[in-house]
């Protein structure tokens, strides 16, 4: 029983970064813009969040800083993709390279420094709750709040004007434009949102999960988030499932380490998140008939009214 709680608690704790980043990417892609810069934006967000929180002594400002820094990179990507109609794959890769370099260059003085971080909510009345008490005790406020983004985005996409506009802009920008949808503005907005979410995801790592700044601390979670959007077939609820799956793998790794059980050699365990991401990708591509209506039809294609 304790083992189970341990695994579930770690799962919950290690999934929010992937969740936030993939939800952001999901909205960006629903609007028609493929953003392969998530990894770079997460790194920049992680650094900016950590540094801002540390200098301003405010976690809230830290989160704002993370969103602002990653958001700027997202605007750059949006400008190239929306206005210049540049290749979205190359632009995204360039943003990842730039973000990785920037965070490494500017972050060097902060390696090994300590700063503010979100502490777990344990040690209060929460511990006493039956069953979920010990589970919740290890979580932090930030991570738990992330879960609220899932229903919020489901509501946004399915039941609001804005959601309808986003879906239309990603499915058929020409038709949406003809109907009066401001396609360029929607796509900017979606990309910016995706960037801010990636920034928050990075901040979760540097302010909550493993407090502090470390070069390349995302370890490919940005890429995993992109894969999870495909796994999620562009539905927020399934993105949550994907993120939890990633968290579970992480938790198992900890569990085996902590208990000293070596069913699988450690290095194979380290590889598992990456291998299973590919596996999951294969699974959805092979098994699922294309889910019409949710796959953004115009994903990755630039739109211009003239052509």
């Amino acid at each position: 029983m304790d083992d189970l709680i341990f695994i579930v608690a770690i799962t919950l704790k290690s999934s929010p970064a992937v969740l936030l980043a993939s939800l952001g990417e999901l909205i960006s892609e629903r609007g028609g813009i493929l953003n392969l810069g998530v990894e770079g934006m997460m790194l920049v967000g992680a650094l900016a969040g950590f540094v801002t929180a540390r200098q301003s002594a405010s976690l809230a400002l830290g989160l704002c800083g993370a969103m602002a820094a990653a958001g700027l990179l997202a605007l750059l990507h949006a400008f190239l993709c929306v206005h210049l109609r540049a290749d979205q794959v190359i632009s995204g890769l360039a943003v990842t390279i730039l973000g990785t370099g920037l965070s490494s260059f500017l972050g060097r003085p902060f390696i090994g420094q300590t700063g503010l971080h979100f502490s777990s909510i344990g040690g209060t009345w929460i511990d006493g709750l039956p069953l979920i008490g010990p589970l919740l005790a290890q979580q932090n406020l930030f991570g738990l709040l992330c879960l609220a983004a899932v229903p919020a985005l489901m509501y946004l996409l399915g039941r609001t004007w804005l959601g309808l506009y986003i879906r239309a802009a990603g499915q058929d920008p020409a038709a949406a434009d003809a109907a009066g949808v401001p396609v360029a503005a929607i796509r900017y907005g979606c990309t910016l949102f995706g960037g801010c979410m990636a920034g928050l995801a990075g901040a979760y790592l540097s302010l909550a999960y493993t407090p502090g700044w470390k070069e390349g601390m995302t370890g490919g979670q940005g890429w995993i988030a992109i894969a999870m959007v495909i796994f999620a077939t562009w539905h927020p609820l399934r993105a949550l499932l994907g993120a939890l799956l990633f968290g579970l793998l992480n938790a198992l790794q900890f569990y085996f380490q902590a208990t000293g059980i070596e069913l699988i050699p450690a290095y194979i365990l380290h590889m598992l998140p990456y291998l299973l991401t590919v596996g999951v990708l294969v699974l959805v591509t092979v098994l699922e008939k294309p889910v019409l209506g949710s796959v953004p039809g115009a994903l990755g294609k630039p739109f211009s009214r003239e052509e």
């Binding site: 609001t160 004007w161 309808l164 239309a168 058929d172 020409a174 038709a175 003809a178 109907a179 209506g293």
Partner: protein, 518 residues
């Protein structure tokens, strides 16, 4: 419903000296046109006559270089379609502007950014239902657009305009994608709209429609408006056609009676499904003889295209048997087999039959690679000479000869190039899919001539939904509906020709069921 000529009403819309050029091309030249409230006004002209540009100017998509638009006597200028729509002018384009993945109601809600954040689907559905009722535009608002027929999609487009209070409705080739009965019901809707006081403008090149529907007819030629008439003023179709083309219409290519030889390609019990398991075609039995043109016709989307592709050895995979020169083949062997004497002209000439960013030489190599190689080395020099040769022989106009990029060619020249490349192989079977769609009269004529010439030494399977083309070229016509061939008829017999329209709409009369294998 009074004729505008006798009506004292002031024009609702007046175009005064409208001109528009795109670079060196003059699309509209000093157009004068008056449109009266409640009339059904046809704009007739060939491809490239400037009708679509003129209507797009009215709908706010383009701005005129010179001239004025008067709406209710007041000069107006539109910067965007939205502004035109705000003043009550809306247009239904030939390519529908609907988001296929969204439902009807969602499409109708798009662009209505009003007040509240939340979507009220139910209220919108109720509103749509009341409009549908009033205008006889039946459509289920909760269905996804992708599930709708072309006729239903057109109704959604009309609803979209009506919901935004459009008074003047412009249609661009509205019947091009409709089956004959759908055309009838579309015309009923037009009359109803007109009775309710809406003004209708429709672009077309079909003379019959104009004479059947229009209260006034404006004819355009080479960017200019050459005449505006009432149907009573039109003495004959021939005259109308002459006004439209500017010379005696020559689309009557002279077809000798066919001299059919042995069966060269035959299919037995062919069927195929798409990825989602939907039947594309089934129960197909046909044969093609040397020396004849067999047309495969039907309204778009009834299985002709996939059947043509399968016969040509491309996906989809089929069950059943194809017999070529007396030898039977199953699917996999047929697809793998090289077919040096069989050519396929797909409908999509821009990305399937040619590669836009490559030179004509490289495009020539697309199907001729085997003849121009030394082991792995590409003999591009020789290919360039061969390409230059067919350019001259077939009179293809290419700006830089064999070096020209395929995308620099006009549609007609590109199609001629593709045909030339394939005919140069001296084929015995030609499968040509909508070979003249989107081409002007002159190019159409040339393509038709080429195909008719081929009848001497090959069997031609012509896939076309254009009845004019089918009747001009084919010796026999197989009509397809929902993936099946309903009947195969002879074009030499008038009583059989008369049935083609009904068969295309899927109305199998008893007599047709037992149609003669001509």
């Amino acid at each position: 419903m009074s004729l505008p000529s006798s009506a004292p009403a002031a024009p609702i819309l007046e175009l005064d000296g409208i001109s528009k050029r795109f670079g060196p091309v003059v699309a509209n030249r000093r157009i004068q046109l008056k449109v009266y409230p409640g009339e059904i006004h046809a704009v007739l002209g060939e491809n490239g006559a400037g009708k679509s540009t003129l209507m797009s100017i009215l709908a706010g998509r383009y701005r005129p270089d010179t001239g004025r638009i008067l709406l209710d006597g007041q000069p107006v200028s539109f910067a965007s379609p939205a502004q035109a729509l705000a003043r009550g002018i809306g247009m239904v384009y030939q390519r529908f502007m609907l988001v296929d993945a969204l439902s009807v109601v969602e499409n109708l809600l798009l662009g209505h950014a009003r007040g509240r954040f939340r979507l009220d689907i139910d209220a919108a559905c109720r509103k749509i239902a009341s409009f549908s009722q009033a205008y006889g535009l039946a459509v289920d608002p909760r269905k996804t657009v992708r599930q709708l027929s072309m006729g239903e999609r057109q109704r959604v487009e009309i609803l979209k305009l009506l919901l935004r209070q459009a008074r003047i409705l412009i249609f661009d080739e509205p019947t091009a994608v409709l089956a004959p009965p759908e055309v009838e019901s579309f015309f009923r809707v037009l009359r109803r709209l007109s009775r309710k006081g809406h003004t209708i403008l429709f672009i077309t090149h079909k003379l019959e429609e104009v004479l059947q529907m229009a209260q006034r007819i404006s004819i355009m030629r080479q960017g200019a408006l050459v005449a505006t008439l009432t149907p009573r003023q039109v003495s004959s179709r021939r005259e109308l056609a002459r006004l439209m083309v500017g010379r005696e219409i020559v689309l009557n290519v002279h077809k000798q009676p066919s001299n059919a030889g042995e069966v060269i390609l035959a299919a037995e019990g062919l069927r195929a499904r798409d990825d989602t398991g939907q039947v594309l075609f089934e129960d197909i039995r046909l044969h093609l003889k040397k020396g004849e043109i067999l047309a495969l016709t039907g309204v778009a989307g009834n299985g002709q295209s996939p059947l043509a592709a399968a016969l040509a050895g491309m996906p989809p995979a089929f069950e059943g048997r194809i017999t070529y020169r007396g030898r039977p083949f199953e699917n996999s062997r047929w697809q793998r087999r090289p077919k040096p004497n069989m050519v396929y002209i797909p409908e999509d000439r821009h990305t399937t039959a040619s590669v836009g960013p490559l030179s004509l030489t490289d495009n020539f190599l697309l199907t001729r690679l085997k003849n121009f190689r030394r082991q792995a080395h590409l003999a591009r020099g020789r290919a360039r000479l061969a390409t230059g040769d067919i350019l001259t022989r077939y009179g293809i106009n290419a700006p830089a000869g064999p070096q020209s990029l395929a995308r620099q060619l006009s549609g007609g020249n590109l199609q001629k190039f593709i045909l030339a490349r394939e005919l140069d192989r001296r084929p015995d079977v030609i499968i040509a899919e909508s070979p003249t769609s989107g081409l002007d009269v002159r190019a159409t004529e040339e393509i038709w001539r080429l195909l008719l010439q081929q009848r001497e030494q090959a069997g031609v399977l012509l896939v076309s939904g254009d009845l004019r083309e089918v009747l001009a070229l084919a010796d026999r016509v197989a009509v397809m509906f929902r993936g099946r061939i309903l009947a195969t008829l002879s074009t030499a017999r008038a009583e059989q020709v008369a049935r083609i329209g009904l068969l295309m709409a899927g109305v199998p009369e008893k007599a047709n069921r037992h149609a003669i294998e001509a």
